[in-house]
């Protein structure tokens, strides 16, 4: 029996020791806190740590088209110009020291900053700038951001691959030219938001010599052919980076974290942090606890949890930040006969005809049946605002006085009684609307619309179906969905970026909807081609009015966001177009 007793004691000892050892660091931290009562010491004072969801997809500026990648890229690379603080129309020089725009709005010239070095020590030259844009176009792929460069420079909106094969390389190389210390962009037509496009991460300047050394485009046709339309991960710059930015890529632990270190040879003032670490933390509870513990300086807070952080000490909150994104209900004007969501396909109370939404009274009736107040106050906890049209607040030429729809069941009834010669009211209808799985906000919007229509007439039956993302995309693309809810996020802060997809007959959404209004199309094309702000304002005001008149879709709400930082983080500048929710890490610092 004795040896057993000894063994037990031994085990007890070992276990106690291990537990004690583990608690030691925790205790030590606790003690520190009690010593300084007033302000807790700044954790990791030389590092900025953010915890977010979703990892970057690539480090290649020409390939990246997701905000997580854009955020990293704009920290590692520099663009020619960047937004001035919170403005979306004023710019400050970055790698370009000055710029000129020709009178006809077709030639943009930039003088390139001298004495700038890439992270690897190479000097920045104007030919690097030329190369950066040309290589971007060369490496265009179907789902990438390069359409934004093609559209102004070559006048083609979608792709570098036409039915006749690749567009000629000369077209690309002629679009951007070096002239001494200057770089000149030759636009196909005047393009009002061109500067905004250049300020995006796709406007980042790469090191030509280094790129070629890493197997990137070497200027030849063969290389163009080989590199065009890369598959995911197929770009030579996928996971490496060499920019001129304030931070350098140190380590990208995909799916886990990205660590950037300060560029101590930066041409401007050095960044305030030695490191900038982005952690991917999917679980909200974990992110919250990290923020509360000070282990993260900023975390991504889904809007549902704003309330939870309301009374947390040691945080700074920035409220009422309008987001350049808007969800809308879209009506399908030409439903596919294969659609399983239209019931009988007849106007007999058990379905809808395929052209149901071509009747404007139906669309208006639906719009008046949506309870904005409940949606914004309840579902968005007030963190949102109703806007009339896709030209939302934060974009130029937003008309705050534009009349809009409101929740009014009487008006809805009036329109629906008038629709289809009164048949709709008499027989009722039955449709199914869809939202994408995981988006609780859109689900709630569907339910509110459902409740509103049901309240007018119990024969108005709306089913709600959850669909996985690809299924939903297919449903929209194949015109299966009679009504769908989806949203658009800004590429650049200009109304064109919104009216085109929402209203133009070949816009992303409106094309799926089969919505076409020649007057609208003409106005949109005109709006991008004129440079004069007054003229543009008139055009976009008219488009906003037309959107309300025509109701091809109606905006559910423009989201208003918040940012929660640790209170020791200073220097946050909100710019609605910034891909990073923290703004530019370069402006941030940690101090009281």
């Amino acid at each position: 029996m004795k040896p057993k007793g000894i063994r037990k004691v031994c085990w007890l000892l070992v276990t106690t020791l291990i537990i004690a050892a583990m608690m030691l660091p925790a205790c030590a931290e606790g003690e520190e806190v009690t010593e300084e009562v007033a302000e807790p010491p700044i954790k990791n004072p030389t590092i900025f740590i953010q915890a977010t969801i979703g990892d970057a997809e690539t480090m290649d500026p020409a390939y990246a088209y997701d905000s997580a990648s854009n955020e990293q890229i704009q920290t590692i690379y520099d663009p020619l110009i960047f937004y001035d603080g919170a403005s979306t129309t004023e710019f400050v020089p970055i790698l370009a020291t000055e710029w000129t725009i020709s009178e006809d709005g077709k030639i943009y010239r930039f003088k390139i900053r001298e004495g700038v070095k890439f992270h690897n020590g190479n000097d920045l030259t104007p030919s690097d700038v030329e190369y950066s844009f040309e290589r971007g176009m060369v490496q265009d792929y179907g789902m990438g951001p390069q359409w934004m460069i093609f559209d102004p420079l070559l006048g083609i909106g979608t792709s570098s691959r036409t039915d006749d094969g690749l567009i000629p390389l000369e077209d690309i190389t002629n679009a951007v030219e070096v002239d001494g210390q200057w770089v000149q962009f030759n636009l196909a037509a005047p393009y009002a938001p061109f500067l905004q496009i250049l300020a995006g991460s796709w406007g980042s300047i790469v090191d030509k010599e280094w790129c070629i050394a890493n197997g990137d485009w070497d200027g030849t046709q063969a290389s163009y052919k080989a590199l065009n339309d890369p598959s995911p991960g197929g770009s030579p710059l996928q996971s490496i980076a060499n920019g001129t930015g304030p931070f350098m890529l140190e380590r990208w632990d995909a799916g886990v974290e990205i660590s950037l270190v300060r560029n101590d040879n930066y041409w401007g003032e050095l960044a305030n942090f030695e490191r900038f670490i982005t952690k991917v933390v999917d679980e909200w509870t974990t992110r919250k606890l990290m923020l509360e513990a000070g282990d993260a300086d900023w975390v991504y807070v889904p809007r549902a949890y704003y309330g939870e952080l309301e009374d947390v000490e040691g945080l700074t909150v920035y409220k009422d930040l309008p987001q350049l994104t808007a969800d809308a209900f879209f009506f399908q004007f030409d439903i596919s006969p294969e659609s399983p969501f239209v019931g009988s396909g007849q106007l007999d109370g058990n379905g809808i005809p395929l052209d149901f939404f071509t009747d404007i009274d139906v669309r208006k009736g639906f719009a008046y049946a949506f309870d904005w107040e409940t949606f914004i106050n309840d579902a968005l906890t007030g963190e949102g605002q109703q806007v009339a049209s896709p030209v939302i607040e934060g974009l130029s030429y937003y008309n705050p006085d534009q009349a809009m729809y409101y929740y009014d069941l009487a008006k809805a009834e009036e329109h629906l009684r008038a629709a289809w010669g009164g048949e709709v009211w008499e027989k009722g209808f039955s449709i199914t609307i869809a939202y994408n799985a995981g988006n609780e906000r859109r689900k709630t919007a569907c339910e509110i619309l459902q409740a509103g229509l049901f309240a007018i007439n119990p024969e108005f039956k709306v089913g709600i179906q959850v669909q996985q993302w690809p299924t939903m995309l297919r449903g929209m693309y194949m015109q299966l969905l009679p009504v769908f809810i989806i949203g658009w996020g800004a590429d650049y802060p200009d109304p064109h970026n919104f009216v085109y997809p929402y209203m133009h007959s070949s816009g992303d959404f409106s094309e799926w909807q089969s919505y076409s209004n020649p007057e609208v199309d003409a106005l949109i094309e005109q709006g991008i081609a004129v440079v004069d702000p007054a003229e543009r304002q008139a055009i976009y005001y008219q488009l906003q009015e037309l959107y309300i008149e025509d109701v091809p879709s109606f905006i559910v709400a423009q989201l208003v966001g918040r940012r929660y930082f640790r209170d020791w983080v200073q220097g946050f500048i909100f710019n609605s177009i910034d891909p990073a929710e923290i703004g530019h890490v370069y402006t941030l610092s940690k101090e009281y």
Binding site: W284, A304, D311, V312, E313, T381, G438, E440, E447, V466
Partner: protein
């Protein structure tokens, strides 16, 4: 009669199994009387969708109107857990029922006939068994699209092979027994030999496993819902309700347990339900296991 007395005796001897029976009976009553215990509000279309009282994302603690409070999105927890009993039974019983049938048919074919049939069926089960159930069910629900029915299909596809294997093994054990040889010698048809002589003597471990697995299946379904691959939000499903609570585990500092009801209540319902089946399964094991019964 003796066997009934024996069962009762065994049950009496093991208080845990009584608890199990009480738990399951309670759940059965809850499931049957769900419309009376938690009547759907006026004008509520689908009773299997939890009614919402507003759309606010912040959970509300238990109050007079909502006995167990509301989750994020103001889904009534009381309604959800009561009606969730029905979907738990639905998932558990359908999956296990179908899997038992499939398992018995394929397992008997493989075990009884052996040879090439056995080889083919066993290689197929190998393929399925190379995936843990949760992983395979995850992949299938992803492909079919998340919905309660698809979760059931996915769990059936993922779990039949282990039953087929188990039954095959048990059949192999009795296949060569004298009474089977005798039945074969007397010219009984294959079907008759399998159903009358082999299955009754080999099915007991499978039945015990089935009773234990009802709980496990509900856990898998809940895990799938929790991972965002199961029932859609608002469906009366405990796992899905926990996924509502997932982000409310820890309350604000100073009151870390502020939203305890969102996690604890659906969690306890799952725990009790699974516990009930496991206790019951254990009792079955004691009762049915001839080795443990009287000598």
């Amino acid at each position: 009669m003796t066997s009934l007395r024996f069962m009762l005796y065994q049950l009496r001897r093991n208080p845990l199994s009584i608890i199990g029976i009480v738990i399951i009976l309670t759940f059965i009553i809850i499931a049957i009387f769900a419309p009376i215990i938690a009547p759907p509000p006026e004008g509520h279309i689908d009773p299997y969708m939890i009614p919402r009282d507003g759309y606010s994302p912040i959970p509300k603690p238990p109050n007079e109107e909502h006995l167990f409070g509301t989750t994020e999105g103001q889904y009534d927890i009381f309604y959800g857990v009561i009606w969730g009993t029905r979907s738990a039974f639905r998932v558990g019983l359908i999956v296990i029922g179908v899997v038992l049938v499939v398992g018995i048919v394929l397992g008997s074919l493989a075990g009884y006939f052996g040879g090439i049939i056995d080889e083919i069926i066993m290689r197929i089960t190998d393929i399925f068994l190379a995936f843990p159930i949760l992983i395979l069910a995850m992949a299938i629900t992803v492909a079919l699209g998340p919905s309660p029915d698809n979760v059931i299909i996915a769990l059936i596809i993922a779990s039949w092979p282990s039953y087929a294997r188990l039954i095959r093994g048990d059949i192999l054990a009795v296949r060569e027994e004298d009474y089977v040889e005798a039945a074969r010698g007397m010219g009984g048809s294959h079907l008759r030999i399998i159903t009358r002589h082999i299955l009754p003597n080999s099915i007991y471990p499978t039945l015990v496993m089935a009773s234990l697995d009802i709980g496990a299946v509900v856990l898998y379904a809940a895990a799938l819902s929790f991972l965002g691959l199961g029932a859609q939000p608002g469906y009366v499903d405990w796992g899905q309700m926990i996924s509502f609570s997932r982000n409310w585990i820890v309350g604000p500092p100073g009151n870390p347990l502020a939203y305890w009801y969102t996690v604890t209540i659906p969690g306890l319902f799952i725990l009790l339900f699974v516990l009930g089946w496991n206790l019951l399964g254990d009792a079955f094991r004691d009762i049915l296991d001839p080795r443990l019964s009287r000598k």
